[in-house]
Symmetry: C2
Subunit: 347 residues, 2 copies
């Protein structure tokens, strides 16, 4: 198996990536394709001696940065022969020289590069950014968390299909419970998009559990939650912001008195576990679902451990034949729809 | 000043309401109009003796419950001569017999009853549910948090105007900073609604600070944040759910070992302050902005303290002439628009 790791992704790249490339190659006992500026990477990898033997550098002199956007980003993503690490890394996947690409870089950049270079799975209307939310007793796959600010019911329907396949194949959940994010649990609640999506999910044959709110999501009552990319992004970012705010308030309160300062010291391990649980690095990276190739995006704040986990998740997806499963699921749905249309016409 | 308190609102009504009515009458040294089933209330108020003297019961044999919805709810809200406590309480405001109505009951019920019986302020396209979010160093007024799942740019523009007036008059913020909730801080980010609303807010003369994400909201960088009622409701409920989830995780972690159990005991006061801060009762209640009368809705989980705070907030709004200020602000905007249209036609 060949996983490509973007050396120039994370906010503090390439240090965490270098550490991660060496560790992942060691851990998985397999070569890591490591895309970035060769001279810079080679010099730093030297320090690891023999441990870096299985890290194969693929030269990419250019980088897509967190600041790239708009036309400039589109050009970097699209141009044939582009020399940035995302374009070169994703081309390796496209040409069959690698099985999956992992980056902690600019999410929009990864999406644009993947979209232009790999295209979407046949029949997929829109690719989605997925995210794994830490919830009670596990994780919940939420999509879309930002690729498509405006969605149609058909997009959300396909997100549900793809999210279910991902949860089955990679998270090993036999019959993933699919929820539709809404402003009320009852059927009939929602904005127009939710109201129009509900019957599609109800008739989908998926394990659709109906509308869910934040309560059900964080209580772990759904394995997959679908929403438009605007709401999903607001959900993601506000959840992160609330967590940070709460921990900050508690920290200050704990420091407020000598008595509680002692308490804080004693309670430290609990805070450490909480941080670990909320840490995006636990999960590593999440796939761009609907892209015709395996591309995983991690948090910009990823450290080496997060990146190694990202490589691990990508490996699981390759092993589980995620891409084939997604193609199959979408294809089956399309054929069903065509059949439905034909039979409807006959009547 | 005459404030009406709904005796039958909260999840555990009427106990917290009875306690609150007595306390509020005492605290503010003024009569409280207390709407609910007379016999039941009178019997329980007796226990308070002289302290209950200033609580004036207004008989309302019927109740809008948390389960009421759809046509049944609409009928209870709309019907002339309806005998539920919301309808009777709001009619007191309508007829000038009271200055404001406070309830911890069914939010949709309060909105429907207020809408049918009081109508909207002239020129207001849609009334909004507002919520006060605890954020760093204070509170942020967020609207709409659920009245209008699908919005037009003009609605959001008016929410911004009304939210600003509320922040000025009741929260005493001279020039409230208004943010537009989006999936990115940069101008140009957003779904179609946000993109179309942005220029309206930019040209509004309000202290518009641009798009905001959860990060800015919880960091206290905006005093007012506007969004559609679907996204606002998801934001509200997921923030509550994340908070509860985090506190639960910390509690379990703290109980995990003897060492941290001691820590938990010592850290208890910090948790207590956190709970107090996140407690919806701190704020008491938030107004239905755009309704042509002062109606405040508190959390269903309100206790007596929350309800007293709710009465306090309503009193502040009456004292500050909130309704007149809202009417004036909307009227001025309408005249400006008419003037703009006229002058544009002349060209």
């Amino acid at each position: 198996m060949r996983i490509v790791l973007d050396a120039m992704g994370s906010d503090t790249s390439p240090e965490p990536e270098i550490q991660a490339a060496v560790e992942a190659a060691e851990l998985f006992r397999e070569e890591i394709l490591f895309v970035g500026p060769e001279d810079q990477l080679r010099a730093r990898l030297k320090a690891f001696g023999k441990a870096a033997e299985r890290v194969r550098i693929i030269h990419a002199p250019d980088t897509i940065t967190m600041e790239d956007k708009g036309v400039k980003l589109a050009l970097k993503a699209k141009r044939p022969g582009a020399k940035n690490s995302m374009a070169i890394g994703i081309d390796l996947v496209k040409n069959g020289d690698a099985d999956a690409f992992v980056t902690a870089g600019n999410t929009g950049g990864a999406l644009a590069t993947a979209f232009y270079r790999l295209g979407t799975i046949r029949g997929v209307e829109r690719p989605a950014l997925s995210g794994l939310f830490p919830v009670k007793n596990g994780y919940c796959v939420v999509l879309d968390i930002g690729a498509n600010p405006d969605c149609k019911p058909e997009y959300l329907y396909q997100f549900a299909v793809m999210g279910s396949v991902y949860a089955q194949k990679v998270l090993s959940i036999e019959s993933p419970r699919v929820g539709l994010l809404s402003n009320g649990e009852e059927a009939g609640k929602g904005n127009q998009l939710v109201k129009d999506t509900y019957p599609l999910l109800e008739a989908s044959g998926l394990n659709f559990i109906g509308n869910v709110e934040g309560k059900e999501l964080f209580a772990g009552e759904a394995d997959v939650v679908v929403t438009d990319g605007f709401t999903g992004n607001v959900l993601l970012k506000s959840s992160e912001a609330v967590s940070r705010f709460l921990v900050e308030v508690l920290r200050q309160e704990l420091m407020g008195s000598l008595r509680t300062k002692a308490g804080a010291l004693l309670a430290k391990p609990a805070f450490a576990s909480l941080r670990r649980m909320m840490d995006p690095g636990e999960v590593g990276a999440a796939p761009l679902l609907g892209i015709d190739g395996l591309v995983f995006v991690g948090h910009g704040r990823s450290d080496a451990r997060a990146l190694v986990n990202g490589v691990g998740v990508a490996r699981q997806a390759v092993e589980a034949n995620l891409l084939e499963a997604l193609r199959g699921a979408i294809q089956t749905r399309l054929e069903d729809e065509e059949y439905m249309e034909e039979t409807t016409t006959w009547k």
